[in-house]
């Protein structure tokens, strides 16, 4: 017994040594040259990552360019919007690269505290509204007009909405006027809260597959549109100020010009990344391409960003010029 184990022990050590020796062939570890390529002094760049895939695309494309061209040390803290704004105010976050309006936060942080600055539009257009799965728009062509919603209310009945039609709301991150809209447009519907983006997307998937009716709150740009062309239901047109009193809203959501935000402290730091963020601009389609790489093709956000940047050198050059 004793002899057997001592052999075992020897074998263990031998294997360890062998492992080490064979590994020698693959080369040792060399230190990184100080800083990365760019040569400029960029330092840290902390891009908040809000929890939707379109945002991840913006963040990683900017981050990839900042890392490879400017030599920044980029990190991506995962936070919700509200926490991201607060983080910029307290100095733990440098930038938010896709902001959807948030007039209350704009007032608080940009106008009053002056701890956050607007860094210009992303070029993307944000659309919020009510959507139905494609099969419904095909079968009931007039459903895209809000006036016929009451006619179809009984179709949308579910176990959650009782004898009314169901209007599924999703991500609690957005301010929705849906309860007021239903009331003010005298629709025979009940707002049911799905509670997450995941529950909205899964609901659309099931509805299209099983040809069941669904009316839900959704938004563009969204990678999911590359998988399924949801159809927008037109509410009464948005006019300036029609949503001024939240209780009396009776019009569609405005189109958002998505913008970027930058922490005051970071803007004053003189980092070359400040310019990059301010100049960054692309389209919904650009973003959807990167988002599809991530969400459907299962690429890592960095690989997806690299693929897009390599394919679009001109656009990237404009941001750096």
């Amino acid at each position: 017994m004793a002899r057997g184990t001592s052999r075992l022990q020897l074998a263990c050590v031998a294997v360890a040594v062998a492992l080490g020796l064979t590994a020698c062939g693959s080369g040792g570890i060399k230190d990184n040259p100080s800083g990365a390529s760019g040569g400029k002094d960029c330092g840290d760049l902390r891009i908040a990552v809000n929890p939707w895939t379109g945002y991840v695309s913006n963040a990683h494309v900017i981050g990839y360019v900042a890392k490879t061209k400017l030599g920044c040390n980029v990190t991506y803290p995962d936070v919700k919007e509200e926490v991201g704004w607060a983080g910029m105010a307290s100095g733990s976050i440098d930038t938010i690269v896709e902001n959807w309006g948030h007039p209350d936060l704009v007032k608080k942080y940009i106008d009053e505290q002056k701890s956050v600055e607007d860094a210009g539009p992303t070029g993307g257009k944000g659309i919020i509204g009510w959507y139905v799965p494609p099969w419904m728009a095909e079968k009931y062509p007039d459903i895209t007009d809000w006036k016929s919603l009451n006619k179809y209310a009984s179709l949308f009945k579910t176990s959650e909405s009782g004898d009314k039609g169901q209007l599924l709301d999703g991500d609690p991150s957005y301010v929705t006027n849906d309860e007021a809209l239903v009331k003010n447009l005298k629709l025979n519907y009940k707002v049911v809260v799905g509670g997450s983006e995941a529950s909205l997307i899964q609901s659309f998937k099931s509805a299209e597959k099983n040809k069941t009716p669904l009316l839900a709150y959704f938004y563009e740009p969204q990678w999911f549109f590359s998988e399924m062309k949801l159809v927008h239901v037109n509410l009464p047109k948005y006019t300036d100020g029609c949503d001024a009193d939240p209780a009396k809203v009776n019009c569609d959501y405005p189109e958002y010009n998505l913008n970027k935000l930058i922490a005051k402290k970071f803007a004053d730091s003189g980092s070359p990344a400040v310019d990059l963020i301010k100049k960054f601009s692309w389209t919904n389609d650009d973003q959807n391409i990167v988002s599809t790489y991530i969400a459907k093709d299962g690429m890592s956000p960095d690989d997806a960003a690299k693929k897009w940047v390599d394919a679009n050198p001109d656009k990237v050059k404009a941001w750096l010029g």
């Binding site: 004793a2 080490g20 590994a23 570890i29 990184n32 100080s34 995962d78 899964q202």
Partner: protein, 713 residues
């Protein structure tokens, strides 16, 4: 252990008929005319519902807030604006934040992220695995060591090495902190009843308050980063450590204390030489439970940029990738199992050490002992007891053996610092055979399977959801949520009185006042409906599975690992499949809660059934009981205590899932907590909803506990 009736506000007749099994506690109630009293309350309730239907329900719109919510918002705004200059928020909390961030970053550079200017961490994967293996072997023996090696290799094989190690680091830092704070607190509580009375309610709140509710406030205080993750984890992981330590110190027999005192030991000596050594095993259990609680916070801490595998689960959830979420989820489960088995084995070993002064060195330790014993100097060996030929190792000798094994370990650490392939875990490009087992492969397997499965059964499950919701959940919810608030308040008080006497009435009244004050009465009633329904489902499942497990060892061996997995896998992982099967609905929220609560309840029922004395079972069998009679007339009634405890625990576990339910269509309090975390102007409302959930939990728990005492035996 205590005993109670059905989940308090549920009409008992419903529970009994639904379970189709004679529940012992229903019978028991008769003696006190509980049934008649409950029926009386029920009639009052129904009449009030008919008369005042849908009036004074205190319903609040989705985006509406109350002055209380606005007041909480005001506090938040003040902290945000003045925090950095305030001595407490900027000074104390800021210092704690910087300290933990620094410690965490130091450890990360050591083992998980590139330590500049090196492109890799100071110690590569092979070195980390070797060190962990050595630690596992030194404290816990061969079996645990194998588990450690396999788990840690899978971290790399699944391509999530860095996040896995980060999660381990967060867990270890949090648990060390919990130990440093929890041990003295637990000792203090064991020695002073007053301290115990003050601290216990605080622990209750820490355990029942949904973590989502304090996510935003903690992030506000500590900023965004590892510290927030560590603090969040500690809030949840500290109570078990403190409670179990208190229990352990209290559990030292009085006779022992007396004997020690008669020898003239001071209080300090008593603690160091008697109480702590004797409570050692229990304290290790406390560490174990603390670790499990810490891991269950992984996905939630990731919502405020907490490092670790939770990030991967959340990212996968965003793109609806069940497979990728599962891969990260599996690693969290394996980490939990690894830490659980290792600490359990360590506690068993420390117990045997405490008893005999000599450890039973297991596995390779024994083998190695055979090799080295003859060559060891005198001081390292001692004569073992009778009948044992080989001399055993003394404590010093054991450490010598461990030290010898450290040499090859350090050799591997050295290599892992030198060679890239040993520093950075290889991918399928480096080692082609990995393509059969790596993360991408498993992701695809899981996705293919879940798509196939969902496709086959979803029409059936959706119909099931509709029927159960229309026939059971909706009527019950109408009764609870559409009655005037004062009717519900009276009904709950009456239930508390009938089931538990005066003491729970006081708690119930206080909790009702708090819920009313939060302005979320109506939402609380909807949440209560789902809680009751989920708890009934949990108990039905737990009794069926628990009886099977308690009666049959093989069933136990087959079912238990599945229960373990469901207890530790982050619920976020199964949210997408649940949504696909049942749609965004309250029922889905209930199913998620049931999936989380069934394991604990089942284990308790199984233990109860197994605990029924074999002589009783034998006697019943001799009298010619059929299998069915044996279960319903003997085994279930005899394990009443366990059933009641299972109901109580099931209820609390269900409540802890209310917020997760809000993510999949559960609405009510859970949704409000989530939206409070997401929308600036709903911060206060979300926090208020968290308070309401806590109050609801404490109320239900107290009613059940006192009822248990009353109907105990």
């Amino acid at each position: 252990m205590s005993t109670a009736t059905a989940p308090p506000p549920a009409p008992p007749d419903r529970t009994a008929s639904a379970s189709k099994e004679e529940q012992p506690y229903v019978e028991l109630g008769k003696k006190r005319h509980t049934g008649a009293k409950l029926a009386g309350i029920g009639i009052f309730w129904l009449v009030m519902w008919l008369v005042f239907h849908n009036q004074m329900t205190r319903a609040l719109g989705l985006q509406d807030t109350t002055p209380f919510h606005e007041w909480l918002n005001g506090i938040r705004d003040w902290v945000q604006l003045h925090g950095p200059d305030n001595w407490f928020f900027g000074g104390v909390l800021g210092f704690i934040g910087d300290f933990f961030n620094a410690v965490f970053e130091f450890l990360q550079k050591l083992v998980s992220i590139p330590a500049f200017p090196r492109p890799v961490p100071e110690i590569g994967w092979l070195g980390v695995v070797a060190l962990a293996t050595w630690v596992g072997w030194a404290v816990a023996g061969l079996r645990s060591t194998i588990l450690v090696v396999v788990t840690m290799l899978l971290f790399g094989v699944f391509g999530l090495w860095q996040d896995s190690i980060d999660l381990l680091l967060v867990t270890i830092i949090a648990v060390v902190f919990c130990f440093v704070v929890g041990l003295p607190t637990g000792i203090l509580m064991a020695r002073s009843r007053a301290t115990s009375a003050v601290v216990t309610p605080v622990l209750d709140i820490m355990q029942t308050m949904p973590p989502f509710a304090y996510l935003a406030p903690v992030a506000l205080g500590f900023g965004i980063g590892p510290t927030t993750a560590i603090v969040l984890t500690c809030i949840y992981a500290l109570p078990p450590m403190i409670r179990i330590t208190e229990h352990g110190i209290r559990g030292v027999p009085d006779t022992t204390i007396e004997a020690a005192r008669s020898l003239g030991l001071t209080r300090g000596q008593m603690l160091r030489q008697v109480q702590l050594p004797m409570a050692r095993r229990t304290i290790v259990v406390g560490i174990n439970q603390s670790m499990m609680a810490a891991l269950s916070m992984a996905t939630i801490a990731a919502l405020v940029n907490g490092p670790g595998l939770g990030k991967d689960v959340n990212a996968a959830l965003q793109i609806q990738n069940i497979g990728a979420a599962s891969v990260a989820g599996i690693l969290i489960v394996l980490t939990a199992i690894m830490l659980d088995r290792t600490t359990t084995a360590a506690s068993e070993r420390s117990e045997s050490m405490g008893r005999s002064g000599v450890a039973s060195v297991s596995g390779p330790g024994v083998m190695l002992a055979g090799v080295v014993l003859e060559r060891l100097p005198r001081w390292a060996t001692e004569e073992a007891g009778k009948g044992v030929r080989q001399p055993r190792l003394t404590s010093a000798g054991r450490w010598l053996v461990r030290g010898l094994w450290l040499i090859p370990t350090l050799v591997l650490v050295y290599f892992s610092r030198q060679q890239l392939i040993l520093a950075q875990f290889p991918t399928r490009d480096d080692w082609p055979f990995l393509k059969y087992i790596d993360g991408k492969t498993v992701t695809k397997l899981v996705n293919d399977f879940s798509n196939w499965f969902i496709d086959k059964v979803d029409t059936f499950t959706l119909a099931l959801k509709n029927d159960l919701t229309n026939w059971l959940i909706n009527p019950l919810q109408n009764l609870l949520a559409e009655s005037p608030w004062w009717t519900m308040a009276l009904v709950l008080l009456a239930f508390a009185y009938v089931l538990g006497g005066w003491r729970p009435v006081v708690t119930t009244l206080v909790c009702e006042a708090i819920i009313f004050g939060t302005g979320l009465w109506n939402d609380t009633m909807i949440t209560l409906t789902m809680t009751i329904f989920a708890t009934v489902l949990v108990m039905l499942t737990a009794v069926v599975l628990g009886v099977a497990m308690g009666r049959n060892r093989r069933a136990d061996t087959a079912i238990r690992p599945i229960l373990d997995a469901f207890q530790t896998i982050p619920p976020f992982v199964y949210l997408i499949p649940a949504l696909a099967l049942f749609g965004a609905s309250r029922f889905t929220a209930i199913i998620a809660a049931v999936a989380y609560a069934v394991p604990i309840a089942t284990k308790l029922v199984a233990d109860g059934i197994r605990g029924v004395s074999p002589t009783t079972v034998e006697a019943a069998r001799a009298n010619g009981s059929t299998k069915w009679q044996m279960i319903t007339k003997v085994q279930l009634p005899m394990s009443r205590n366990a059933l009641v405890l299972a109901t109580n625990q099931g209820l609390l576990y269900v409540l802890s899932m209310v917020v997760i339910g809000g993510l999949v269509g559960g609405g009510s309090l859970g949704y409000i907590v989530v939206s409070g975390f997401s929308q600036d102007q709903l911060f206060g409302k979300g926090l208020a909803a968290g308070i309401a959930i806590t109050a609801l939990g404490v109320m239900l728990d107290r009613i059940a506990r006192y009822a248990a005492e009353r109907y105990g035996r």
